[in-house]
Amino acid sequence: MPINYKTGIINEHKNVRNHSGIFDVSHMGQILIENNELYLHKLEKYIPLQLKNLIKNRSHYSFLLNKDGGVIDDLIISNIDIKDKPYLYIVYNASRKKEDEEIFISCAPNAEKIYNKNCLFAIQGPDSINVLKNIIDIPNNMNFFDILISKYDNNEIILSRSGYTGEDGFELSIPNESAENLITDLLKNENTMLCGLGSRDSLRLEAGLSLYGHELNENITPIEAGLSWALDKERLEDKNLNGNKILSDQLKNKLSNKKIGLISTNKSMLRDGMTLFDNNNNEIGKITSGCFSPNLNKSIAIGYIKSEFNTDNPIFCEIRKKLELVKINNLPFVKKNYKKNGSVYE
């Protein structure tokens, strides 16, 4: 996947917000794990969900946790039948394949990695339903984070209504031999285009979504990352869950850091790794992701600052040895536009 295609990051970004765009995310990990009690129990050591209670044909955002509750990876886990057999289908970060697969295989020795035989595409944006429905059967009542088996070219594909842009959209896991045909079919629509990693990053940042290696790593728990909504609270009482004690304590007590959104007050660009200061030149935090926001026409960032810092006070970001005033902005920067209920057809 390139950083961008011919028309550039900003144009790709706007096309996704206004129409639709196609991302080839085949580099990501995809694995099928047999849905049986033993494997679920073993996986529950790492995954803070009640896996046996996952609703069929639904996806969930979750994590693999280390023994301190730190995030080994963030992932999407779905309960789905394939050829009448129940599976967990997990999509995980390319950069964490080694760590994740060690865990998956230790829990379920016959887990089947499918990313070598299946491509993964995302089509994102308000028009994605219209682009896709001419090519693939999509049930009327399919909502955000629903997942099902559909067909293309007489091949079974895994179709989910999900994505990483804050827009409505779909992700398709499709056998390699049909991948090129599908992309060619999709691109027949003049208002869609291939999009690269650059716009993928600026879209997810505007939507306030975390990126592994930036907002998330092994030294940050989901609670510290502001993602406690994704934890099953009952599991925090379960000793079988890695870091359960640390996590339940964190939920009760004040954290030392908090995640914030920042927006530039001038034309300077906020970037990953820049340091944040208070009025008196005391370091109060760091930026973990920054980019130019095409929707706001300003630079935006996500970072962590000390919880004790009163956000009514001014915050400065060090950019090339100069301190620039930045403003706190609630996350997300751009309202999410997911289909949660009702008919998907206009």
Binding site: I3, N4, G8, I10, S268, M269, C291, F292, R320
Partner: protein, 127 residues
């Protein structure tokens, strides 16, 4: 030296320079513009500053990265392209004309002669 527009020359840091009446106009090459991608902001140099060749004198911010612009030769900054203040994307549209960044009064024209010609720059890019 009479009044004439010199041939355009290039630096290894991907700036272009053209000289007219001992005034050098400087910008970034079309190749640099293409590799930076969408340019969203430029921090222009200050008029009146005296600079040496290789000094970092301003910064171009694209959606991908910040990149420094160096003085190609010794001299004094005498004019900046204020249009870029409001619309840095002019550099993407026309890097080697409308997208000029600053002008310098140069002190040593030998430094200019040592820069790469357009053909030499093309070869340099292919290496």
């Amino acid at each position: 030296m009479g009044a004439y527009m010199s041939e355009k020359k290039y630096t290894k840091d991907h700036e272009w320079v053209s000289i007219e009446n001992e005034i050098a106009t400087i910008g970034i090459s079309n190749h640099a513009q293409e590799s930076l991608g969408d340019i969203v902001f430029i921090e222009l140099p200050s008029v009146g500053n005296s600079v040496k060749a290789k000094d970092e004198i301003c910064v171009v911010e694209s959606v991908k990265a910040a990149s420094d612009i160096y003085a190609p030769i010794d001299g004094e900054i005498i004019e900046i392209n204020n249009n870029l203040e409001n619309d840095a994307a002019i550099i993407n549209q026309d890097a080697e004309n409308e997208g000029w960044i600053f002008k310098m009064k140069i002190s040593d024209s030998n430094q200019y002669s040592e820069l790469m010609s357009e053909d030499e720059y093309k070869q340099f890019l292919e290496q």
